[in-house]
Symmetry: C2
């Protein structure tokens, strides 16, 4: 049974705070192991990556077979059904179109002092994308990570994907090909992250690493941060559905379950202004759990972390939503646009009853890599911005240096940074002598 | 003596690689100490912050005096000279104008399937800014951190600044006031970072923490990352000047010294296509070092990490610059705009001989918080973007769900996520029955 809360209850605030603070993930402390793996890969390169791949993935490789050949990729791609291929291509087209609109503009202007100011954006030269192996090897995540990188203009995009016992997912390889990935390596774990960050004889180092992974991968990403850029470290998935009584309970139940089935640590919350509707949804969840393939996982998530919260009105729902700062937020209400205006903190909002969150996981267009664990308060989903960086530009004229240089010299003096001040004053003195 | 390299020398590549890889900073391992401080502040709140402030800053506080009162702030601000105040205001106006242009636009559109897609930006609700105490207490850094936050629309901006022995810098308080900071606390160290991240009885928690600090502050920021957002962890400052012979050697020398005087770990590099000019600049540096106030620091930095690199032409200079990915890049050449076009990786570019880097530290307009240690390959200087986050929006119509829903269901099935698929199919089935 999930928790049932009602904002009218005396103990609501305590229960809601406990729900917000519930620790859903126990990350094993693998930092020492990971530090050793990274040091070993830096010291021994390919040989160490190959040794660890044999150990963990039961797969014997050579420097020549670390990377999938073009022929192998073609062979795997040929195994994909026409239906799956068409679905991947539709998804890729829509993700590409959405992310293309995110490209920021360069700017340049001359201010009243005569100084030219501005900035320009440029892409990261090389990026690496971690793709988990086994069950969590999702072709959709390949599209969601690789397409923004390519839209941003990343020149070289390398994927690492472990293939335990040599088994690869044809859809992952096809997704990589559709997204324009340049290199695919059949390695995983902390050793793959180390290889991307520091390079080996065979693998050129990259500048940025993104993509999800297990505790070892997350720890390795934290460790190489600084040497390379990384994306966020994602936690278990979450959904918040705000629904009024004008909804089909079974649809809302399925939306809640579509997060719950990801992971026993996932969290699905329904907020409704109709207590009876809340009960109907909970009953529909139970019914679906009788037959769902992943009912063990989804059932554990719903039982341990699920919640139905009854509010007195939708304004109260919006306020609670902002305290949750959900990764995914569905607004299944009569006027979703109006309710959306009242929301400040959410990774992605899905408006109206015909926009189940699963649309956003695959084909909507927006990215499905989104901030978890309340981090939507301060961070955003993956986008082209993650693969771009900005260089600021400034150019003084003689007049603009005369106009603003003295203030710089004054501030430099106040900070006891004499050379800073002199670098301005020496120029101003020379100009005044002319 | 700094290093002299020439790209024509046989051992250039080895020497240049060594220069790039030189470890300039020895960060003490303070992680265990910092972890304990954070745990103690979480457990004991104000009392622990007060205890540690007495221990480290020799300052007795109460919950009532943790924060500067409005009257105190006014009193400190009144001590600032008119010249300093005018310089701070000019700097603030220019920084505000530059950052206001960075504000990204929301977007919303309807695609060919009838779906409405888009995103909107919103500001972080509350941000905290760390300001170092003592010698490194720079009012310019207050402006550079606080103004982008306020331009972005951060509702509540709190500063923490240690005041060892109770001594505060009036310019820091005035800069905070000019920038629109809402709260100023006289605390520092890891305890101040913990108080901002987790809150105490007196200090409300924030969502994002920015600003420079010592090893304890940096370790604390790393530790609270996830609970709150943080900015980059900055390393020692760097400047690269590309200069041809049509420059005054003394000006270039001062530009190199203006980074060197920050820190013995700072790095100043000159690249020139004229060996004789390189010697003239080195001689000018030596001459200035005879009298510079901070000659011990600047001299050590120049001796240990400085370099003069002679190249055969400016194209070669641009290529080396991209390998360095400098924090600050001055282009003191006849056609700086043309050379700038050849640069991809740099935090900030200063064009022409009348744009000394110190202009950018104070009054140019662009931010002076910039990526160090080659991280300009993948990251950008501080901007309004650091205080904004994006929520993606999608809204399907019945027609758009019919158009793209089946592909989502296909992909969900290929990933063995049944509930994802059912959440789409249940809706499509109901629509088809109508």
């Amino acid at each position: 049974m999930p928790q049932f809360l009602n904002t009218q209850d005396a103990d609501f605030e305590a229960s809601f705070t406990a729900l917000l603070g519930a620790k859903r993930e126990d990350s094993p402390d693998v930092d020492a192991v990971v530090a050793q793996i990274i040091a070993d890969v830096r010291a021994h390169g390919d040989a160490e990556v190959i040794r660890l791949t044999e150990k963990f993935d039961r797969l014997e490789l050579t420097p020549e077979t670390l990377r999938f050949s073009e022929a192998e990729i073609e062979e795997y791609c040929a195994r994909v059904s026409d239906e799956d291929r068409a679905a991947l291509e539709l998804a890729a087209d829509r993700i590409r179109a959405y992310h293309a609109r995110q490209m920021p503009a360069d700017d340049s202007w001359t201010d009243e002092s005569g100084a030219t100011l501005g900035w320009r954006w440029s892409a990261v030269s090389a990026a690496g994308l971690y793709v988990p192996g086994g069950l969590a090897s999702y072709p959709s995540s390949v599209l969601m990570n690789a397409i923004p990188a390519k839209v941003a203009g990343v020149g070289r995009l390398a994927i690492v994907v472990p293939t335990p016992d040599g088994i690869a997912n044809p859809l992952v390889l096809l997704a990589a090909k559709i997204a324009g990935v340049d290199e695919i390596y059949r390695i995983g774990g902390a050793q793959a992250v180390a290889a991307l960050a520091y390079g080996t004889e065979t693998i050129e180092p990259v500048d940025k690493i993104t993509g999800p992974g297990n505790a070892f991968v997350a720890a390795a990403k934290r460790r190489v941060f600084g040497k390379v850029g990384i994306d966020m470290i994602a936690g278990p998935s979450e959904i918040l559905v705000i629904a009024d009584k004008y909804n089909t309970p079974d649809w809302i139940a399925l939306d809640l379950l579509s997060q719950a089935e990801h992971d026993e640590s996932a969290q699905s919350i329904l907020i409704t202004d109709d207590a009876e509707f809340g009960q109907q949804v909970a009953a529909a969840v139970d019914k679906r759990l009788e037959t769902l393939q992943r009912r063990d996982i989804a059932g554990a998530s719903w039982r341990d972390f699920g919640a139905v919260i009854v509010v007195k009105d939708l304004d109260e729902a919006a306020a609670l939503s902002d305290r949750i700062a959900p990764e995914h937020l569905e607004l299944c209400v009569q006027d979703p646009d109006a309710l959306s205006e009242k929301i400040t903190h959410a990774g992605a909002i899905f408006l109206g009853q015909f926009t189940p969150e699963a649309i956003g996981d695959y084909v909507g267009g927006p990215n499905h890599v989104l901030p978890t664990a309340r981090s939507a308060r301060f961070s955003s989903g993956l986008s082209v911005m993650d693969f771009l960086k900005r260089t600021t530009l400034s150019k003084m004229t003689v007049d603009s240096l005369r106009a603003i240089g003295p203030a710089a010299a004054t501030l430099a003096e106040s900070e006891s940074l004499e050379a800073h001040g002199l670098s301005v004053l020496a120029r101003l003195d020379a100009l005044n002598e002319k």
